[in-house]
């Protein structure tokens, strides 16, 4: 589903990604862990072209991200084409980023109705189902500011799911939440994983990574230090850096 080969990214002189290689299979749940500043979030944002990569190759579902290959040349995609690609990838942000001027229902139908031009009736019905699924059926008419962080994040997941994405990206979805609200969000993510959704999750929830992840990738300083089966990487890490990180986090 996602194929990264030697992906590089720099902000000015600061190299954030120094050659990332990664493969995510369809239906796989990959958890990205590592200290802050290690490039996890940046890599995630490259996958739906919120950031442009400076070198290497990154493809989703067999198609290059942000470019079209014609013979020997790479043509940059137009805004509209990039948007088309993004609409197939769901993303959940650390700070939720719900649209505060719209009700919960309108937040969820905004993608289908405005981007896919789906009829509004069925989209609303679908939105209600998704809200029910994340346990917030009674919050249809509420505004984001009237919800707790945990509720907002679940609405954000429902908003992303409304686009029927083939891949879901989670950027530290529980980092801005009160500890007691983390569980509800993780439950929703777990059920998504059980249904076979392909997911890439940047997280500090080591327990979630161990339990739900099919693969755990430990990144540090813009490179992948270690990756593999969660139990292996998390319980008997081979690299010193991984050991030191886990010793601090666990």
């Amino acid at each position: 589903m996602v194929e990264a080969r030697s992906v590089h990214k720099a902000y000015g002189r600061l190299e954030v990604l120094k050659g990332i290689d990664m493969t995510v299979q369809r239906g796989e749940v990959l958890c990205l862990i590592g200290p802050s500043g290690s490039g996890k979030s940046t890599f995630l944002r490259c996958i739906n072209h919120l950031e442009k990569i400076d070198g290497g190759e990154l493809s989703v579902d067999g198609e290059l991200v942000g470019y079209r290959q014609v013979g020997n040349r790479l043509h940059e995609l137009k805004d509209r084409e990039v948007c088309g690609k993004r609409s197939e990838i769901g993303m959940v942000f650390q700070r939720f980023n719900l649209f505060p001027h719209m009700s919960v229902l309108d937040n969820i139908t905004s993608g289908p109705v405005w981007v896919k031009r789906a009829p509004s009736g069925p989209s609303k019905e679908r939105a209600r189902q998704l809200l029910d699924r994340v346990g917030l059926a009674d919050k249809v008419a509420a505004y984001p500011n009237q919800l707790s962080g945990g509720q907002q994040q679940r609405v954000a997941i429902a908003r992303a799911l409304a686009m029927d994405p083939k891949l879901m990206l989670f950027d530290e979805p529980t980092s801005a939440l009160d500890p007691e609200l983390v569980g509800d969000v993780l439950d929703v993510m777990r059920s998504l994983a059980d249904e076979g959704m392909t997911m890439i999750v940047v997280t500090h929830e080591i327990g979630f990574a161990r339990e739900v992840g099919d693969t755990v990738v430990f990144m540090d300083g813009g490179v992948v230090v270690e990756q593999g089966d969660p139990t292996e990487v998390l319980t008997s890490p081979k690299h010193e850096r991984t050991q030191a990180f886990l010793a601090k986090v666990l």
């Binding site: 948007c83 993004r86 980023n97 719900l98 993608g111 981007v115 984001p144 707790s148």
Partner: protein, 352 residues
């Protein structure tokens, strides 16, 4: 922890002892004597003001008459020519503000564009129109245009050494005399609009910048194009920041329209001037104009309040009371409870 009474002092009275119940005691509020003094001073000033406005008289020539001649004011307040002037003033205000907002949004988006040519040209526009007095601009549109371009030609023609290439699709170009096209009203509307656009663009730009980047990213992640994101996500949120200064600009514009009296537009101020030029009742007619300006700025102030409430949707849990509610509350001395942000949305506890 009760301290033993200091030697030589009588034991504390029962009322201050720990056994007394504070909930049954009488509360003595703090006195504010200076507030009474200030109130008295203001009351005296108000009384003097009312007296001089309504009851004082003055001898002019041979006659003794009311100082402010309210009778004359009342006589001309609804004079047909004054009412016609009001219509022109309101027309100019609406045209200039609508055009100003449209120009402002376009310029603001241009200035925020990564394209240097776009942002640069928007900058030059703002630099020019903010950098010259609006009065000078008005004269420019009125007399300058017909002086510089006596005949305005619509469509383009390119003069080559031997031919003139006419670009529009019909044969003859539409040429008009500038003075017939650019009437004084049009010059006024044009001048005010273009000038207002420069100011509005900065207000709109401030609004756009105030919206969190996360909103644009979230919209992008759903596949929204830049235009759609601007229209549906960024601008509606920017409105909260844009509305208050725009209300300010509208009120300011209502009064700035009086400047077009200098280029022969008969708006409210010029209408009253025309009357006083014939009957020499200068001050009463200034009062007529002032009362009307005050009336319309008051209407705009209240209107702005309700527009602000509308765009505060979802941003606050409780909205401030409306001016009407405030008035009712101050009359009945009952505190108005904050309302839920939207009538149909019940307040929801912030925690699950």
């Amino acid at each position: 922890m009760t301290e033993p009474p200091a030697p030589g002092h009588p034991p504390a009275t029962v009322a201050t002892g720990p056994s007394a119940d504070p909930s049954t005691m009488k509360i003595v509020p703090v006195r504010h004597p200076w507030r009474w003094v200030a109130s008295a001073v203001i009351l005296v000033i108000v009384a003097m003001l009312v007296n001089t406005l309504l009851f004082s008289h003055v001898v002019r020539g041979q006659t003794r008459e009311g100082r402010f001649q309210w009778g004359v004011v009342g006589h001309y307040l609804f004079a047909p020519s004054v009412l016609r002037g009001i219509v022109v003033t309101l027309e100019l205000t609406v045209i200039a503000m609508v055009a100003g907002v449209v120009i402002g949004i376009i310029l603001a988006v241009m200035r925020l564009s990564p394209n240097r040519l776009l942002s640069g040209s928007a900058w030059v526009y703002i630099w020019f129109f903010r950098g010259t007095p609006v009065l000078v601009q008005l004269f420019f549109w009125y007399v300058g245009i017909s002086y510089l371009y006596p005949h305005l030609t619509f469509g383009a023609s390119i003069a080559l050494p031997h031919y003139t290439v006419h670009l529009p699709f019909w044969q003859g170009l539409w040429t008009v005399n500038s003075t017939t096209l650019v009437t004084s009203f049009l010059a006024g509307a044009l001048g005010l609009s273009l000038n207002e656009g420069a100011y509005m663009s900065e207000i709109v730009r401030a609004g756009i910048i105030s919206v969190d980047d996360g909103q644009t990213e979230a919209a992008a992640s759903l596949g929204m194009t830049k235009g759609l994101t601007m229209r549906r996500i960024v601008l509606p949120q920017a409105m909260r920041v844009i509305i208050p200064p725009t209300g300010n600009e509208t009120i300011s514009m209502l009064k700035t329209t009086s400047l077009v009296s200098t280029i022969a537009v008969v708006e409210l101020f010029q209408a009253t001037q025309n009357i006083s030029n014939t009957n020499y009742e200068i001050v009463p007619l200034l009062l007529v104009a002032s009362l009307w300006y005050l009336f319309f700025t008051s209407v705009l102030t209240v209107g702005q309040y309700y527009v602000e409430r509308y765009y505060a949707r979802g941003s606050t849990r409780a909205l401030p009371p409306t001016p009407f509610q405030q008035l009712r509350a101050s009359l009945t001395h009952v505190r108005v409870r904050p309302q839920p942000a939207l009538a149909e949305v019940p307040w929801v506890a912030p925690h699950e």
